[in-house]
């Protein structure tokens, strides 16, 4: 039927598939035999299921319909067996094995590039049916194995090849040097020239043996995206660009997990559900673009979605909730630092961990993995419009792009990735001051600590030196200026770890042998900063700036239960807490929240949904604590100095935040009705009764409703209300009589003793009437 299926030139991906399938088949042959012998063996069944499943998956994007059809049919049957819907009888086992054999034959045929008659395949598939006649033995046109065209190599072997290559280059260099010294025969020179050219070419080839197209990483994405989106009920269109960019094989492996995680995140958290997208005026199908491009010696892998982006306010609120930083520090953070919080351990932007992205690695692990291979992760957040995550990694693990500098007569390399800028000191653009005895440099208005490399390394005794070249070095904590004597060159270097005694200084990231044949050390930017004693106060600068700007107070912006956006002064927010709705209940005339075996008065502007979790602000004025139920915290904002006056006394005023009107809650009204402490809880005097009924049945109910109960008054104590089972009134105290039957109750002074609501209402009414009197 389809000659084109294997008649076309094979690409690398197909080669990979063939090699892999062949390998698995070889490994599987033992399993097949064992399954044949014992069809009920679950482990064997699983192994064969995995095989056909993998083949099916690969066929999907390699466009191999014949293989897809076969593997799909076999997978269906095996799935039925796994689910216990079909029994693995001999006939079924034979039919499945015939298909596995056939898959092997087709793969060999594809590799050899010749057609294979497909007439028997319908029969093979038909044989899988439950009522099928015993299968005809599979057609035996196998054993067409063509010579393998790709081999798998051990990385160590490649490394040895690389190091042998370096030896060759050095030997060539030395030979050239020697020849320059003496008068060389032109013919010898020509020979050396030829050798040089060959060596250079060889070096290139050897380097390339480590390279692989990033397609190897991208090829699995279409299926993953489709499956992930489907399981979430979302529609996502994937666009892949730059699959032919080449990357170190080892690097490709290292990038796999971070990439998968970022893509899953994008689909799970980024792209909205179709209905939400429609409402936002977007196409229902989300777009995901995964692209790779080479930029100098670095590869940028970009994952861009057109989803909701990161809600920075929510990230901040979450950080406050998990106690990552205190609320004030968070408020003072610059915007970029707030966004960066998503890389903090244990902080996922979504509260509920989902099956898709909630397990395994978080963004903190993604960043750690990428940085471990000398890369960087950066974000471009467009709230409401999408998020782009860029992973920038070096082309290979072993070759680093560096800038070589001279200091005190020695040479050092700096990873190019940490070099932000090379500044030549000329004119007024740069100014150096001494802060105490510490030099500080100001470059275009930005003040940075200055470290003299030669001085730091003890290569120069004098404190004074001519400052002419500086390198702005970026570390994770901050940037600093490194004074060097000269910038010599940029160079691609094979960097290896130095001896432990050298690494222990913390100043160096490794050692290298450039073509000059003279060993060189690679400086570690962060290590140099630490050695020089630089301390980057993470948010100090930002805080100062904020303090100057701030006129109004900081407030927590939140979504209230009634859907309104409101704000409350940050100073009175003790913490934001998630509580079970069961802990909230309307008792003794008001809403209360049970926390840590205490009751807090709770304010809520709309009913709290039952059976769900509720978010509660715990507010305190230092003595009294109250709760305020909200829908969710949004952000920490700065209130404008002027508020539009409020008519409703519950609010201090109305502020405009963003473009929205926000009611600013007046905390005073929340605290004003609250009794100072438990001591002021109304005291109920329980008149003794014969069986201790009140003690048993009533105390708990009353205490839960916020009353205190005693059976005898301490000296000086005054009961707010007395409860009695006897008809006799208690002197000088409003009394609630409890009748033993419904008939005796009048609902005011006398209530039926098991009518809880009426009882509490009566107690409350008696206390009120006494206050009124």
């Amino acid at each position: 039927m389809k000659r084109s299926e294997y008649g076309e030139p094979m690409d690398e991906l197909l080669q990979e598939f063939i090699a892999e399938t062949r390998e698995t088949l070889e490994a599987l042959s033992g399993e097949i035999v064992a399954w044949e012998a014992n069809p009920t063996d679950r482990a064997r069944l699983d192994a064969i299921f995995r095989f056909v499943h993998t083949v099916k998956g690969s066929c999907g994007f390699l466009d191999l319909p014949r293989l897809a059809r076969l593997s799909h049919a076999a997978e269906d049957v095996l799935a039925a067996v796994r689910d216990g819907k079909r029994a693995p009888d001999t006939q079924l086992v034979n039919a499945v094995l015939a298909i596995v054999d056939r898959i092997g034959e087709i793969v060999e045929a594809i590799d050899a590039g010749h057609a294979l008659d497909d007439s028997a395949e319908d029969l093979l598939i038909a044989a899988l049916a439950e009522d099928a006649a015993p299968a005809i033995a599979a057609g035996g046109s196998g054993n067409l194995r063509a010579p393998t065209r790709s081999v798998r190599l051990n990385v160590e072997l490649l490394d040895r090849m690389m190091s042998g290559m370096s030896d060759m280059v050095l030997a060539r260099n030395e030979l050239a040097r020697r020849m320059r010294e003496g008068d060389a025969d032109p013919r010898t020179e020509a020979a050396l020239e030829r050798l040089s050219a060959t060596v250079a070419e060889m070096r290139d080839t050897v380097t390339r043996t480590r390279m692989q197209k990033i397609e190897a990483l991208f090829s699995a994405l279409p299926r993953m995206v489709r499956d992930t989106a489907a399981s979430l009920g979302k529609a996502v269109q994937l666009q892949i660009e730059g699959a032919d960019v080449e990357l170190d094989r080892e690097m490709i492996e290292m990038m796999r997990d971070p990439l998968v995680h970022i893509i899953r995140n994008a689909i799970d958290h980024g792209v909205e559900a179709p209905a939400v997208r429609r409402e936002a005026g977007k196409r229902e199908t989300g777009r995901l673009r995964v692209s790779a491009r080479q930029s100098g010696n670095r590869i940028m892998i970009e994952v861009a979605d057109d989803g909701a982006g990161i809600d920075v306010g929510r990230v901040v609120a979450k950080a406050a909730k998990v106690g990552l930083h205190d609320v004030q520090t968070l408020a003072a953070m610059p915007e970029a630092a707030k966004l960066d919080l998503i890389f903090a351990p244990g902080l996922s932007s979504r509260d509920v961990a989902s099956d898709i992205s909630g397990r395994g690695v978080g963004m903190d692990v993604v960043r750690a993995n990428v940085e471990q291979i000398g890369g960087r992760v950066s974000l471009d957040n467009r709230p409401g419009r999408g998020l782009t995550v860029v992973m920038e990694v070096p082309l290979t693990l072993s070759i680093l792009s560096t800038i070589v500098v001279g200091a005190g007569g020695e040479r050092y390399a700096l990873p190019r990735q940490t070099v932000e800028e090379i500044v030549t000191v000329r004119g007024d653009a740069v100014r150096v001051d001494l802060l105490g005895d510490t030099p500080v440099v100001t470059v275009r208005g930005v003040r940075l600590p200055l470290v003299d490399l030669a001085g730091l390394l003890d290569l120069r005794s004098s404190l004074f030196f001519d400052l002419n070249t500086m390198i702005i070095v970026a570390t994770r904590d901050g940037a600093f200026a490194l004074a060097v004597d000269e910038v010599i060159d940029t160079e691609e270097l094979v960097v290896k770890p130095a001896a432990p005694a050298i690494m222990a200084t913390g100043l160096y990231a490794g050692q290298t042998l450039p073509d000059s044949g003279r060993p060189m050390l690679l400086l570690d930017g962060a290590g140099v900063a630490a050695y020089a004693g630089l301390r980057f106060g993470s948010y100090e600068v930002a805080e100062e700036q904020q303090a100057e700007q701030r006129q109004g107070a900081a407030a927590l912006l939140f979504q209230d239960l009634d859907g309104r956006r409101r704000a409350i002064a940050l100073a009175c927010v003790d913490r934001v807490e998630t509580v079970s709705a069961d802990a909230i209940s309307h008792t003794a005339g008001r809403l209360r929240l049970a926390v840590e075996e205490r009751l807090l008065p709770l304010h809520a502007n709309a009913p709290v949904a039952e059976g769900r979790e509720a978010t509660v602000l715990r507010l305190t004025d230092g003595a009294i604590e109250v709760g305020y139920a909200i829908a969710e915290p949004i952000d920490i904002v700065e209130l404008p100095a002027e508020l539009a006056p409020a008519l409703d006394p519950r609010f201090m005023g109305v502020a405009v935040i963003g473009d929205e009107q926000v009611e600013v809650v007046d905390p005073i009204t929340l605290f004003v009705h609250e009794p100072d402490a438990v001591a002021s809880a109304p005291l109920c005097l329980l008149q003794p009764d014969e069986g201790g009924w009140m003690e048993t049945f009533l105390r708990g109910t009353l205490e839960a409703a916020g009353y205190r109960c005693v059976t005898r008054l301490a000296p000086g104590e005054q009961a707010a209300v007395a409860l009695t089972l006897d008809a006799a009134p208690v002197p000088a105290v409003p009394t609630v009589h409890l009748s033993r039957d419904r008939a005796g109750a009048d609902g005011v002074g006398t209530v039926y003793r098991y009518d809880r609501d009426a009882l509490l209402a009566a107690v409350s009414a008696r206390i009120q009437s006494k206050r009124a009197a």
Partner: protein
């Protein structure tokens, strides 16, 4: 049972280095300094395409630094190559290794590096393990 030893001179004394701990014997070329590292690390040197860490054996033994010498014994410790400098090399010969059993009070550096002794024509020589001369990472950077 006898072993093969390299007889070398370090800080004016003869020592025996077990041959199986020696990768090769070389003359080191130019040494690149490693500022702020352990003083016993004299620097880095290139050996064909390999970078080796050069150890000043005198300082490693807690004695005065070795003089100008290029002669070194290459040894491999934990995947790293070290060039352990010696004043001179004399000989390779088989000896029987014996314990240091007569209560000689060795200096601290020697005691850490010595693993026994051999006797050459009646002259006792300490057996030195070159790996023991390799400076351990300092506990802290400063």
């Amino acid at each position: 049972m006898t072993e093969l030893f390299l007889i070398a001179h370090v800080a004016g004394r003869g020592v025996a280095i077990p041959a199986d701990r020696v990768d090769s014997v070389v003359d080191i070329g130019e040494i690149v300094k490693v500022p702020r590292a352990d003083p016993a690390v004299r620097g880095l040197a290139a050996l064909r395409s390999r970078v080796v860490t050069v150890v000043d054996t005198g300082l490693a033994l807690g004695l005065a630094p070795l003089g100008k010498t290029a002669r070194a014994v290459i040894t491999r410790v934990d995947g790293h190559y070290y060039a352990v400098l010696v004043d001179s090399l004399e000989d390779v010969a088989s000896f029987e290794r014996r314990p240091i059993a007569f209560g000689a009070a060795l200096g601290e550096g020697w005691r850490a590096a010595a693993t026994g002794l051999v006797e050459r024509d009646g002259e006792p020589l300490l057996v030195i393990d070159p790996a023991a001369l390799v400076p351990a990472p300092l506990a802290q950077a400063a």
